[in-house]
């Protein structure tokens, strides 16, 4: 019976699967085809054979730690690439490497904590679509999401001024001001308002768009 064979293979290749992200992805595809969720129960045949339950549990803890450490600055919204980098740093080089898919699967098991939602804001123009992880329970306002998308497209630093937002979205000033104000209120954006002498426009920065600058 195919499923029995699969669990035998799983038991034999346990070390390989926990070590190799590609193999792991392949394994998940097979399980999906069979309608089996290896993470659904740690007592399941596959999870037990592979020790995947432990693997994703540990990864989930590392994800939570990384999110908690960065929430003071980013308000609980982080780019998946930055999260992966932080998690890998926590794991160190002696253990099995993980990739974005692993992190997403681990996040899937964290739903019970509240939050931990995956966001895929629209990319504009040349900007490649990015994946964000919201680790706080409160959902992002649609106006804030729109402002975030505009900021991502407007500058590599992930910042935008009110005027730029109006131009990007074709919004009246009041609407742009409200969206940026809400982003600040929700803690997912910070204000940059240099002194009047410097003659620069005020801008709103989204920490989750700043990439390696803030997460290192």
């Amino acid at each position: 019976e195919f499923r029995t064979r699969l669990s035998e293979v799983a038991a034999r290749r346990r070390q390989d699967v926990t070590r190799d992200p590609t193999l792991r992805a392949h394994f998940h595809q097979m399980c999906a085809a069979l309608g089996v969720d290896p993470l659904a129960s740690t007592k399941g045949a596959f999870a037990a054979a592979l020790g995947l339950g432990d693997f994703y549990y540990e990864l989930g803890v590392q994800v939570v730690e990384a999110c908690m450490a960065t929430t003071p600055i980013n308000g609980g919204v982080i780019d998946l690439r930055d999260l992966l980098r932080l998690v890998c740093r926590r794991r160190g080089s002696a253990v099995a490497p993980v990739d974005e898919d692993d992190v997403l699967r681990a996040i899937g098991t964290l739903k019970a904590l509240g939050g931990y939602e995956i966001l895929r804001p629209e990319a504009g123009g040349r900007e490649r679509g990015r994946t964000l992880v919201r680790s706080v329970p409160r959902a992002l306002d649609s106006a804030v999401t729109a402002a975030l998308e505009a900021a991502a497209a407007a500058s590599p630093e992930g910042c935008i001024s009110r005027a730029e937002l109006c131009a990007a979205k074709g919004w009246p000033e009041a609407r742009a001001a409200a969206a940026l104000g809400e982003a600040l209120e929700q803690g997912v954006a910070w204000l940059d308002a240099p002194s009047p002498e410097e003659g620069l426009e005020a801008r709103v920065y989204f920490p989750c768009l700043s990439g390696e600058l803030l997460t290192g």
Binding site: P72, I73, G75, L184, E185, W190, L191, P194, Y205
Partner: protein, 163 residues
Amino acid sequence: RSSSSVGRRSRPPRMAPGSPAQPFSFPSHFHWAPFFTLQPVAATRARQLGLWCELVTAYCAASRLFVLDLDEPPEALFANTELPRRMSRDAQEAVLDALAGQGGGEWLEKPRKLLVTWRSAEDWADALEEVVRDNALQGAVLTLEELSSGSEVAGTEVEGLPA
């Protein structure tokens, strides 16, 4: 700790007060423009001031700076010329106020002059005790000035300690 009766232990090089002995490693948010604007949203401002307090304490410890006087602040601390951005005077006062509030400093002259306690009083007492022992000064009477800048304390951790 060893207390040698023969000669003095070797001294670390004398450091110029006010600037770090080695290039100071600023945190990543120091290179981020919004860090220099006092945030309007209270919750974010609280986090920002927390980060500034950590930075100020670490900077003062690395530079052996005991007093922060906003009329003559260290140039490298409240501004980043690469961005370029600087903390307004109001923002600087908010940082000092936050630091005093969390026990990281004592007001010498509110709101502009703060004694930054980057080391606990107990640790300073230990350091003083070590200098006294190393120099066999137990039982001697020393002025506060001798204690902070006499020849025995030159190059030790205790040098420059304000009264």
